[in-house]
Symmetry: C2
Subunit: 493 residues, 2 copies
């Protein structure tokens, strides 16, 4: 106990001993950050880390202090130059937003204020609810709907699928578990459904088997006739059809299921209708393209991703549930009758009653600031811009005999490959993979690859507010050059 | 199509049209942020929002742009002055860290770089793994263990409990679900267990009923004899005892279960041993106090919270799993044999194979920067400092006849109440609640209330690097004053 007395006389804190020095350093950090974004176009999209950078990250736990300027120097030297690349105008790999400077200021201010969004009566809590209300407005949901900001699309989908499970279980599944359900539930989605739904089914104790993958048509949209047949078959076999998952923008090709048709099937068959709109829900705000996702407003729940087409810095997902009570009844451990305090800090809403987290960060601020600055109409135009860019690239590919379009371009994802006369599928895969890797290694562009209708191809997903049409023209030129070089270097096909 | 052509000629972006102006504004934001933290002690801990601030947050979705300086002005006026309060030295409500300036710079830089931690070959991914390795080192886990950074303690607990479920299911539960398990699983925890475990059991499809709450002793630690009896009873009744959850620091009183005894029971009974160390796991790094959590290093999985005693800005939780394969086998949807690309961006590890998220933010950076700046030894001393402060407050309470200590102070949580001679439990609750609310409303201190052994009391959780001993002396003085005023104002007890 004496030693405690001792240390107490010299109270320590994490606050800097000298705020002026910390201020000077952080102004430098800020100037570097601005230069970093301003010049992003001049840097390679991605580059391989040298061996000394890799080994830097194997250092053991630091026991003693280091000057904060040195710490920043380490970050500036070893972290900032080796990004994933998704803020670069020629990053089109997978499907990610490109962040934005105002959003970064939002994350900084959220960390400075430090508030916990588990709930309570404070400004951040109100803003969180406001941003959720704005999301409802964007997709045409009623103001009475429930919703919550989450870490991303996977969690937003889990929220929707969990509410569906609990509503359809036919038993108090919260108390008694999945084993007590009178009939095993069945969920339905297209064979293009994102892998996070499999993870969700497994986590929820329903099992991967409970998610029936329905075949898709030539446009890679769920086959409605096949869906109905599967539902009938499952009823016959003693399952309980519970939920249909529509995909508004598949990760593979950007296909959008016929959401109106799915809403109709769900209504007729008494299914929960969940829309995975992580990629495409926000097309609802794009003036030229919004008809592509018509029907989304009829969903029972929607997952969407502000860190994609609203370009919020990671992480920012959102789950919306039409029936706010069903939403709360799935997750709340605070009984409705248990009043929080009538006044004071604990008198606000308990936002942790709408999901799996207890403590929650102030994700709303970065979204709010960028939406206020630019207005939602501009975000809508930016989505149209990306879709128009994808159509431009599609036309370039169709016009170029060396290339082959591999799937219809519906939204902002273009699937194609470089042809090689007479080459096997295996050779084509190796050839296109090599082109993709060289584009990355040369820092020109980041693409990803995938499989469409069983055939390997490259994939350009344009969800970047910095991309210009001439970036896509450069991609075509460079792919043709790399195609020639790779063909020349390779053994005969 | 023509309209798309049109817009393309005027490419829009979210980047500022004038970086110099944006730079000037953001330097102002930075200076304000520094003043905000530097002067935090001079401001009230918490204050009620005026009606015009509340109504500010009901504005509809902004359609048109606003100057970014005005947007910041809105935030400076309506958000920053009305925080939850947990960065203030006299915030002792619930259990939260107090953030730190370097961590806020880390969140800013993470947003600027924008990298997605779902995986891949880039610096952020390597740093994420490094920070997880550091966490293992802190709690005495082997370097071979698995782990992942998550949104917080609730998610970290879900990770551990899910791995436990899948390992103990006795069936391929990922594929077939909970309904196919040969015997219903049972989990065990003390009756003081955090509510997130109930949420986890429900989400996982095991049901709340599968979590057996074991009585606690006078120190509110799990009763080992009662635990063993419950396990035997469940085996007899046809259940499969699967997992025991030890709590290292209950949220209620800071009680720490006898982790060594639990490790022994788990080994004897073939149970998974999970430790909820969200509050107390990091006591393992505190030189004076670490023996309190001895045995934690024997766990199969641990949940801990860098956004608590490492004061990382929200959000930052961490799940550690001793058996890295069991961890991966629970969540991975990428088969082990499916090579990512041999080179390039996709050649790194897939960090999304260790949890429920796909996209993940760069949480590691804020933790890394603060650990490098201060060194882990200082964080250990700060934990000892908080525990010493709790003991100081406990001595003050014990010495003050108007106060009554309601639970033993083990770590940094003090449960007590203001006495009123001859008052009923109901009157005492109203009286103490009023004191708590006035402390908040006057901006003096934020406490929370709880129930210990069926009796209402106030609760001071000191997990704040800015708290000094004289803050606690002030609390005692002010509570005595408010006690007198409240007693005088109230109807006779």
């Amino acid at each position: 106990m004496d030693s405690f007395q001792e240390t107490a006389t010299t109270d320590e804190t994490l606050d800097p001993p000298n705020w002026t020095e910390m201020g000077a350093l952080s102004h430098q950090v800020l100037d570097d950050a601005i230069a970093y974004l301003k010049n992003v176009r001049e840097r390679p999209v991605w580059r391989e880390m040298p061996a000394e950078v890799r080994s830097f990250f194997s250092a053991p736990l630091p026991r003693s202090p280091a000057p904060v300027a040195d710490v920043y120097d380490d970050v500036a030297r070893n972290v900032m130059p080796y990004p994933m690349g998704n803020i670069h105008p020629r990053f089109w790999s997978w499907y990610m937003g490109a962040s934005n400077f105002t959003g970064a200021l939002g994350d900084f201010l959220a960390a400075i204020q430090g508030s916990n969004l588990g709930g309570g009566n404070h400004a951040a809590g109100l803003m969180d609810s406001q941003v959720v209300n704005w999301m409802k407005e964007m997709v045409g949901f009623p103001a009475s709907a429930g919703g919550t900001l989450v870490s991303g699309g996977s969690m937003a989908n889990i929220i929707g699928l969990t509410v569906a499970r609990n509503v359809k279980a036919g038993v108090d599944v919260r108390e008694r578990g999945v084993g007590a359900m009178p009939k095993p539930l069945r969920y339905y989605a297209s064979d293009q459904v994102h892998s996070c739904h499999r993870k969700a089914m497994e986590a929820l104790g329903l099992g991967n088997r409970a998610l029936r993958r329905i075949p898709t048509d030539a446009g890679l949209r769920i086959d409605i006739v096949a869906l109905k047949a599967a539902i009938a078959e499952d009823r016959e076999a003693g399952f309980k059809p519970a939920c249909v998952i529509g995909t508004a923008g598949t990760v593979n090709t950007g296909a959008v299921d016929d959401l109106r048709a799915l809403a109709k099937v769900a209504a007729e068959e008494d299914l929960w209708f969940h829309v995975d709109g992580c990629i495409g829900a926000l097309i609802a705000i794009a003036p030229e393209s919004r008809s592509l996702v018509a029907g989304i407003e009829q969903a029972d729940s929607i997952a969407l991703d502000p860190h994609k087409w609203l370009h919020a810095p990671f992480e920012a997902g959102c789950a919306l549930v039409r029936d706010a009570s069903a939403h709360r009844n799935t997750f709340a451990v605070t009984p409705e009758y248990l009043e929080s305090t009538p006044r004071g800090l604990a008198s606000g809403a308990w936002l942790h009653d709408y999901g799996l987290q207890t403590s929650r960060g102030f994700r709303a601020l970065k979204i709010w600031m960028a939406l206020k600055e630019h207005g939602v109409e501009k975000f809508g135009r930016l989505i149209d811009q990306n879709i128009a860019q994808a159509r431009h690239l599609t036309r370039r590919i169709e016009a170029e005999p060396s290339f082959e379009l591999m799937a219809p371009t519906t939204i902002n994802i273009v699937s194609f490959r470089h042809r090689v006369d007479g080459a096997s599928e295996e050779k084509l895969k190796a050839f296109n993979t090599e082109i993709m890797l060289r584009l990355q290694e040369d820092g020109i562009a980041a693409l990803s690859d995938t499989t469409v209708h069983g055939r390997h191809c490259l994939r350009v997903a344009i969800a970047n507010h910095r991309t210009r049409r001439d970036d896509l023209d450069l991609l075509v030129t460079e792919m043709l050059r790399l195609g020639r070089e790779t063909a020349a270097a390779a053994a005969p096909m």
